[in-house]
């Protein structure tokens, strides 16, 4: 099943990547190339084979519900490309309404 340019564009929207025209072309080519090379996986008989998500059985581990110190707010904000230190938050474009 070959991927079209339009499908690649749709996947880019899901991946939140604003691809340029050239990038979309290149990725359409690369993705089809790789998926073609990997086609034999589709023919593998996996009837009744359970999926494995982790190499070793991982269980949800719980700890006592005790508050612990966390990073100070200033330390976290220090890496923000646009912050409002006085309000104590990250600045983002307007998200809700006009």
């Amino acid at each position: 099943m070959a991927l079209t340019r339009e499908e690649v564009g749709r996947v880019a929207v899901l991946a939140r990547l604003a691809l340029t025209h050239d990038e979309t072309d290149r990725l359409t080519h690369h993705l089809n190339d790789l998926l073609g090379q990997f086609a034999h996986l589709q023919e593998l008989d996996t009837e009744d084979v359970p999926p494995t998500s982790h190499a070793v059985p991982v269980q949800a581990t719980l700890r006592e519900d005790v508050a612990r110190p966390s990073l100070p707010r200033e330390a976290v904000l220090a890496n923000g490309p646009q912050v409002d230190p006085e309000a104590g938050g990250f600045i983002v474009p307007q998200v809700i309404g006009e």
Partner: protein
């Protein structure tokens, strides 16, 4: 005396007995970096002042007669995807340029606790995606054995630093071979521990069901010591296993008699260079002459490892890398009109071509209508791949011996435009991550043009002691590990 040529054990010994100061050792390695890193380009950041401060603190403790840790005064290089408090951590990516973590990765704290001196951060393929460091957004690291060739990747900076004598030890991370393949290309010992053996807290995530942190060293004893320091349960990483950590050096007795070694036929096939096959098989013969029992085994699902890996790892990466949005850290685009535009433009500007490609594969494999055909299928293949290994262990095999990489180090630029050829470079190493088992690479010879050849040992979960014992016994009978890159 050239301090930079000594092993970690020799350095630790000299420092502890106050034959030489920790400061003198750190200064010697900083001088070595100064002398050769312009050519090798292993380091992204050198933290000279911090290193000297740490070394001075070790010297003060020793002078006061206080106890010091097993790595007191021994310098290490850290892959640049390990968070270091107050020191920029870029992951080889433009999107994380300027990111200064507010905390240390657990392994970094453990190293400092053991007295080690961090020299700085080592170059890597962007977000650990690659096999040569050519995907680094910063620059390409060179192989100290031949500066026209790649050091391997993605932990290529860590490997090159040790091979060039710029550090006696380094940490890397391995999601599909990113410690073992560069260890092979640079003639080092590199260990990918069992999934869950080492905490990943503070390791920038790539594919969470596959990532492990592990050591680089010039010999097995040094690698064993470093692994003993970093291994263990961590409440901050729920996948780390609460299991006691041995001193991995204790089992290095040189004895492989009676151990059953499997040689999987699928790893000695077309695509594996004849000189690599010959060197590995010669090593197998040597181990047999030392008393190991050797038999041919089969891992029939090997051909599905590469496609399954290149669906699962990108799928996990596409999810893990969703956090880079230009809001909390790193690069942020200018002039975006709304928040979606902010995310999309920031990510397009910040990520390199290989990372975008993998995010796209992963997003596609997880998207509605394709999930069963790709992601689920790959997870089922993963089950079959694990069963292949389980069958080996059940039949009494103690370890498998294979090549680490299909060739010696390739030239810079040789595979850069051929994504599939680059991915085939990991063909022998991906399966250990898929199965979660430990694996190790060590040098087992050199090509005619003087490039190291790597041998891989794989064993059942938590068999690091056995793998290190075999590698150590091989080292006692050979001298490949004593050769140094001609710099």
């Amino acid at each position: 005396m050239d301090l930079h040529t000594l092993t970690a054990h020799e350095l630790a010994e000299k420092i502890k007995s106050r034959d030489v100061s920790a400061r003198a050792v750190t200064d010697a390695f900083l001088a070595r970096i100064e002398a050769v890193d312009g050519d090798v380009k292993a380091f992204v950041t050198v933290t000279a002042d911090r290193a000297r401060e740490t070394a001075d603190a070790v010297d003060r403790r020793l002078a006061a007669g206080e106890e010091v840790g097993p790595l007191a005064g021994v310098p290490v290089a850290l892959k640049d995807n390990l968070c270091t408090e107050g020191v920029e951590t870029t992951c080889g990516s433009k999107i994380l340029r300027g990111f200064v973590p507010p905390y240390n990765a657990t392994v970094v704290d453990k190293l400092l606790g053991a007295g080690a001196v961090s020299l700085g951060k080592a170059n890597m393929d962007e977000f650990a995606m690659g096999s040569s460091t050519e995907n680094s957004a910063l620059f390409t690291t060179r192989n100290p054995w031949d500066l026209s060739r790649v050091p391997g990747g993605s932990s290529g900076g860590s490997a090159a630093a040790v091979a060039a004598g710029e550090a006696p030890l380094a940490l890397g991370s391995d999601t599909g071979g990113s410690i073992r393949q560069p260890a092979a290309f640079c003639g080092l010992v590199g260990v990918k521990p069992t999934y869950g053996r080492v905490s990943r807290y503070g390791l920038v995530a790539f594919a969470s069901s596959l990532d492990q942190i592990g050591p680089f060293a010039r010999n097995t004893r040094d690698a064993a010591l470093l692994l003993s320091v970093i291994a263990g349960h961590d409440p901050c990483d729920s996948t780390s296993v609460p299991r006691p950590v041995p001193d991995y050096r204790a089992g290095l007795n040189g004895d492989v008699r009676g151990l059953r070694l499997g040689v999987p036929s699928q790893y000695f096939a077309e695509g594996i260079a004849p000189n690599v096959q010959a060197a590995v098989l010669q090593a197998v013969e040597l181990l047999e002459s030392l008393g190991a029992k050797v038999e041919t085994v089969s891992l029939p699902y090997t051909e599905y490892v590469l496609p399954a890996y290149y669906i699962l790892a990108p799928a996990e990466a596409s999810s893990n890398l969703a956090r880079y949005d230009g809001v909390r850290y790193g690069h942020r685009t200018t002039g975006a009109r709304d928040h979606i535009g902010l995310f999309e433009k920031t990510r397009d500007e910040g990520f390199g071509a290989e990372v975008k490609q993998r995010i796209m594969i992963g997003t596609y494999a997880l998207s509605h209508g394709y999930y069963d055909a790709f992601y689920l299928k790959a997870q089922q293949a993963r089950t079959l791949i694990q069963r292949d290994f389980a069958a080996c262990w059940q039949s009494g095999i103690d370890a498998l011996v294979t090549p680490t990489a299909p060739s010696v180090a390739f030239g810079v630029g040789e595979k850069a435009d051929d994504p599939l050829a680059m991915k085939l470079s990991d063909i022998c190493t991906l399966s250990a991550n898929m199965a979660g088992i430990p694996a190790l690479s060590q040098c087992c010879g050199f090509s005619e043009d003087g490039l190291p050849i790597g041998l891989q040992l794989m064993g059942p979960a938590f068999s690091e002691e056995t793998l290190l014992r075999i590698a150590h016994a091989y080292e006692l009978a050979t001298d490949w590990h004593t050769r140094r890159a001609p710099l």
